[in-house]
Symmetry: C2
Subunit: 359 residues, 2 copies
Amino acid sequence: MSKKSKSSALYKKKGVSQSDITNASSIKTIQNKRKQQPTAKDLVSKILNGNITALSRAITLVESSNPKHLKKANEIIKHCLPKTNQSVRIGITGIPGVGKSTFIEALGIHLTAIGKKVAVLAVDPSSSLSKGSILGDKTRMEDLVKNDNAFIRPSPSGTSLGGVARKTRETIILCEAAGFDTIIIETVGVGQSETAVHSMVDFFLLLKIAGAGDELQGIKRGIIEMADAIAINKADGDNLKAAKLAKVEFNRALHLFPQKASEWQPKVTLCSALKREGISNLWSLITDYLDHTKENNYFETHRTEQNKFWLLQTIEERLKSDFFNTPKIKEALKSQLQFIEDGKTTPFVAAEYLLKLKN
Amino acid sequence: MSKKSKSSALYKKKGVSQSDITNASSIKTIQNKRKQQPTAKDLVSKILNGNITALSRAITLVESSNPKHLKKANEIIKHCLPKTNQSVRIGITGIPGVGKSTFIEALGIHLTAIGKKVAVLAVDPSSSLSKGSILGDKTRMEDLVKNDNAFIRPSPSGTSLGGVARKTRETIILCEAAGFDTIIIETVGVGQSETAVHSMVDFFLLLKIAGAGDELQGIKRGIIEMADAIAINKADGDNLKAAKLAKVEFNRALHLFPQKASEWQPKVTLCSALKREGISNLWSLITDYLDHTKENNYFETHRTEQNKFWLLQTIEERLKSDFFNTPKIKEALKSQLQFIEDGKTTPFVAAEYLLKLKN
């Protein structure tokens, strides 16, 4: 191990991130840098003024695993909170190949053109493994990235969906405090991440293409049931006829489900993100939904329910990780699993043993 | 409050159940009765001899919420454990009206006739509310209940599925130790209870009737995907033609799913529980499955995986209930939920607060 990597490992332990270290051999430099770190108060006031650098810094604190950073992040969020209820949060899902990035760029450009400020976030628990399978590469949204009224942030990394979702949810609050009034949260149409995204948005859009043959999957995994609208993308050229047919079919499928608590009948619409067609139609569908749910009060009660759900989720997640990350438990769990494999104990006796060990 | 009810409340607190109390005003009588309670060792030796009274008593201990009873139950289970791997565990689900009780009785009678010892259990977390919606009334299985080689036990009561499932799983072990070689576990085709039952059985049977129109529900909730076989019941008289059509359709649906880890291709079969037709066919289908999965070792590895899953499940369940049942937390949770309702905190800040409160 070189001297440099040794000392950076040391600072890492102390909770100083790699990026804080300009000269790893000089502790003094680091201490000076630390003093220059903006306080939570500084960051809050800058965020509320729409300062993007401050917003990015605060998100980095939210995403950190350093307890000091998390404390600071909580402080910032607390003060940003009163500014956060003026937004619309839209979840977008669809399997790879459906054209999500192109679609989100088209929607983002439409929204900024009509005066909205758009933040695009992502929930992709696999991104730490695949090095950013969605939104990892901002170049996919070339036009939107240059737009001053758009802010794009890739998925936080993390191995557990619970952790990734928590970070994204806090990032929503920061973006809203910074003046972004439309939050788009992208996720991939695989795994449980749709459910997580669905539980943090006001409107959930399922992006489809004609003839992908994944209808059964969508029904099976409850994704179609969650959708407030289905947009059939790539409805252009030779594909238009098939897209129109798919629209009829999806409309029929949507009617098989019982009425939603929002009393909104989900709609199917066509679009071509590439040609930027059908995007304003879709947006007026979303505003119809917002009018409808604000009128019947669902919008408000739904957000409150989501917050309560997230309180319980966060606690459960933490109880589990606190327990299973205790070194004593980790060790003992290994042997208990072996005893189970050998038929020497029952799951329940083993659980009793492990739970007692904790106290 | 009368003197009697006062003192029975007192004994209840001390962990003496109502049924232990013959004369609530005489503590001496209770102490004598206590002395007469069989020890764990007594119960184990009687259970291993196939004594049904001892088996029932041990199950009552498993179902108790008294910590002393649970300790005794764990002791009993530990000693019964070496005797439990000689059985077959069959899960049966189907929506109300499909004829589950009649079917299970027909299957039970067939099995006892060919020399099996059959225990019928149920998982129904709603039963405490609805006073036993399934198997609450043994009279529904009049013929089977009289059979010496059959043992029928209604669903343990409980508000959480986790708790009900745990109790049932421990009851399986006791029944197997008492010499029951075929364990049938019934559940209702609503809610999450199928998943719980699926995770404790070797073979999972979905009971259907023709034209019930719940196919989409079954696909959506993943029940069809879990099934190792679908039996279409009431395939008699005028209904036979429709049942045969349904068989073709379900066979097609089953082929839409990817191959199971067991490498078993699920089958569809017809039966009439009322006329006791098609039952032996179904049983030979089940024995085919058992031969197949024992040969490719899936039977064994699957049971081990189930046990590991249950270890983790049990721990998670207990971590949650320990936390949320702490009086201090209960109180504080109420106010935090109110703060969320008033928009005065975030779920994450509230969770931090509650988690800190515990330590």
